[in-house]
């Protein structure tokens, strides 16, 4: 298996084919989407046509039936190609977003929705975070109230990625007030439903990087959801959400690691070519050592990320490894981008050399979908057995 042992023949073939597909979209393509904010339509189409969106879904829905390890290889190859998060985030939600639906949805919901997501015919967005509750998901304020035919949802969500183009929304909302639940995480329900633009106003949030893939503030006012769009049981939504967290952490880790390696490649190329004081700057240990250090950090985090993926694929708990990989991978990725900017000197600050774009994108993976602090909280409490701090 990748990184832990030799890659299998399939894994090599997958990595190779994704690399080739991505190689059609060069640095100018991504620099341009970052400037205009245009959605990378051609890239998304190429990935959908190659069948890559279905990598981790069962064959009966048009997927390839492979695991998280292979999905991770795909996503790492995407960011590594220089597409960074502008590319990865544009397809990330198709690849892993509908996991709660696959695991807990009923046969009809899966038949109806999964093939369209896998073929790229439909896009989805994932609305969890809210302005007033932040990382404390149990305190979210969006409400789903029962009607005769289903539910009416009212509330606000923030940061919802891709809502401008999404056809569907996976949304978590409170169905029973927190005070009436025995535990704060109960009483939340998960819905996969149409993104009705008459009832949901999505406003893009101007942000630091990854301009091509927007994030939105959602104002949800009287969204009617038929009861058939409830996933699993009412009140168990948070539990369903948790199931998808570990794979998502692994994917964020490898995406950031891929971007870090791309930055490192640019930096080493520049360090070999740029001559100052009569020698290439890369001949100075002051330039070499940080680059070598970053390589070692990326490699170590990669090892842990694929370890977590392997455990997940075997059906073994990978919470500790997935969380630690997310923390180490996204830190290593960001640091590699930062070192790449610094190694370029003034040119690192110029758009022409692309590494400043990588650095702005790598920043987002340190914050979303879970912050460094919350990962450390998890490890302290669940792995080390220390008292819960929050």
């Amino acid at each position: 298996m990748h990184s832990i042992g030799e890659m299998t023949e399939d894994q090599l073939a997958i990595k190779d084919a994704v690399e080739k597909t991505c190689s059609q979209f060069g640095e100018d393509y991504w620099a341009k989407t970052d400037e205009t904010g245009d959605w990378p339509e051609e890239f998304c189409n190429a990935m959908a046509e190659g069948g890559w969106l279905g990598v981790a879904f069962p064959e009966e829905y048009g997927g390839a039936g492979l695991g998280l390890t292979e999905a991770a290889l795909v996503m790492q190859a995407v960011t590594r190609s220089g597409a960074g998060y502008s590319g990865a985030s544009a397809i990330h939600l198709n690849i892993f977003g509908p996991k709660p639906l696959e695991k807990f949805g009923n046969a009809e919901q899966k038949q109806e929705n999964l093939p369209k997501i896998i073929s790229g015919q439909e896009k989805m967005c994932f609305a969890v975070t809210e302005p007033n509750s932040g990382l404390d998901t149990s305190s979210l304020e969006t409400k789903a109230e029962r009607t005769n035919s289903g539910y009416t949802i009212n509330g606000r969500k923030i940061w919802t990625t891709g809502a401008q183009r999404a056809d569907k929304i996976l949304i978590i909302a409170r169905t029973t007030p927190k005070e009436e639940c025995s535990k704060p995480y109960l009483g939340l329900s998960l819905f996969y439903t149409d993104l009705d633009r008459g009832k949901i106003d999505a406003k893009p949030i101007p942000k630091m990087g990854r301009k091509a893939v927007e994030c939105n503030m959602l104002y949800i006012d009287g969204l009617e959801v038929p009861k058939e769009h409830l996933i699993g049981e009412e009140g168990a939504g948070f539990k369903y959400l948790l199931q998808g967290l570990n794979p998502e952490r692994v994917l964020f880790a490898v995406e950031s690691i891929g971007l870090g390696f791309a930055a490192l490649e640019r930096a080493t190329t520049y360090a070999k070519e740029r001559v100052v004081f009569g020698r290439p700057i890369g001949q100075n240990q002051g330039i070499q050592h940080p680059l070598a250090q970053r390589w070692a950090e990326l490699k170590a985090a990669e090892l842990l990320a694929y370890k977590a993926a392997g455990l997940y694929d075997q059906g073994v708990d990978c919470g500790a490894e997935a969380n630690a990989a997310k923390l180490l991978g996204t830190e290593a990725g960001f640091k590699a981008c930062e070192t790449a900017v610094l190694s370029h000197g003034g040119m690192g600050y110029a758009k022409e050399y692309h590494v400043e774009r990588y650095m702005r994108e790598a920043m987002l993976a340190r914050i979303a979908p879970v912050s460094r602090e919350m990962i450390l909280n998890f490890i302290a409490e669940r792995v080390l057995g220390l008292p819960k701090s929050y």
Binding site: E9, D10, L12, A13, I14, D16, A17, K20, T21, E49, G50, G51, W52, G54, V55, A64, G65
Partner: protein, 248 residues
């Protein structure tokens, strides 16, 4: 019609090759290997002929180490139907390759064999021609267009000074040039399908071919490092500089 496409596993064309310190060859340790790009073009052409309905079966053959199986799988993922791996860790020279292929062709009886015009590792550009001679089949080398018509194969060739079109009687040999087509990338569903396609494993001994080397490599040397160029402002400066260097 049945088509046979030999494919070779070579150093990836993106890799910057390094000569071994003892100058006995290039360093292959931990280097990315891929299908010879000309062979990719050959597989692509065969698959396109199959998609047009002119071909029923595509058999791919590779002579090389165990890992050449990956190269065969790549060809199967592009659309070939089955593979034959002729396993050897020796460096097999073009004549021995052609002799093994001659035997494979004897067993498989394809009507068309599509080979790359050369492999990018040794750039020999010999196998196709030697194979045509051994079989006494017509050959169309350096093809930039291949059209099947009324049992004939029309091959447009890139030659000095223009294009030449040959009409070949089947069975025939075609070798491919860069401009023939642009090979597809394997899609994930096709990579998955390729896993189920059969690959037979053989050895050169099964075909009674001696693969012992007839040539010996004396020395491999890095090409001299290119010196940095000079930028000039305009044509007159260019002319002055060229004159000063005695180039014109």
């Amino acid at each position: 019609m049945k088509v046979l496409v030999p494919v070779k596993r070579v150093i990836d064309y993106n890799v910057k090759v390094r000569v071994k310190s003892d100058q006995s060859g290039v360093d292959l340790a931990n280097v990315k290997m891929s299908m010879n790009p000309f062979d990719e073009i050959s597989v692509e052409e065969a698959v396109r002929l199959k998609e047009k309905g002119a071909v029923e079966e595509i058999v791919v053959v590779s002579i090389g180490p165990q890992q050449a199986q990956e190269t065969l799988r790549t060809a199967l993922a592009m659309g070939a139907d089955r593979g034959i791996l002729i396993k050897t860790d020796d460096n097999v020279e073009p004549l021995a390759v052609a002799k093994i292929l001659e035997k494979v062709i004897g067993e498989e009886s394809p009507e068309l064999v599509i080979l790359g015009k050369q492999a990018i590792d040794d750039d020999s550009n010999q196998t196709g021609q030697m194979l045509a001679a051994l079989l006494d089949w017509p050959q169309g080398t350096f093809a930039s267009e291949v059209i099947l018509e009324d049992g004939k194969i029309n091959v447009t060739r890139e030659i000095d000074g223009g294009l030449q079109t040959l009409s070949l009687q089947t069975p025939a040999i075609v070798t491919t040039d860069l401009r023939l087509n642009e090979p597809r990338y394997a899609s994930l569903p096709n990579i998955m399908k390729a896993k189920k396609k059969p690959i037979d494993e053989k050895s050169p001994g099964d075909y009674g071919v001696d693969t012992a080397a007839r040539l010996s490599v004396v020395k491999v040397t890095e090409p001299p490092v290119r010196e940095a160029g000079e930028k000039v402002e305009d044509v007159s400066e260019l002319v002055t500089k060229l004159k000063a260097k005695g180039a014109i």
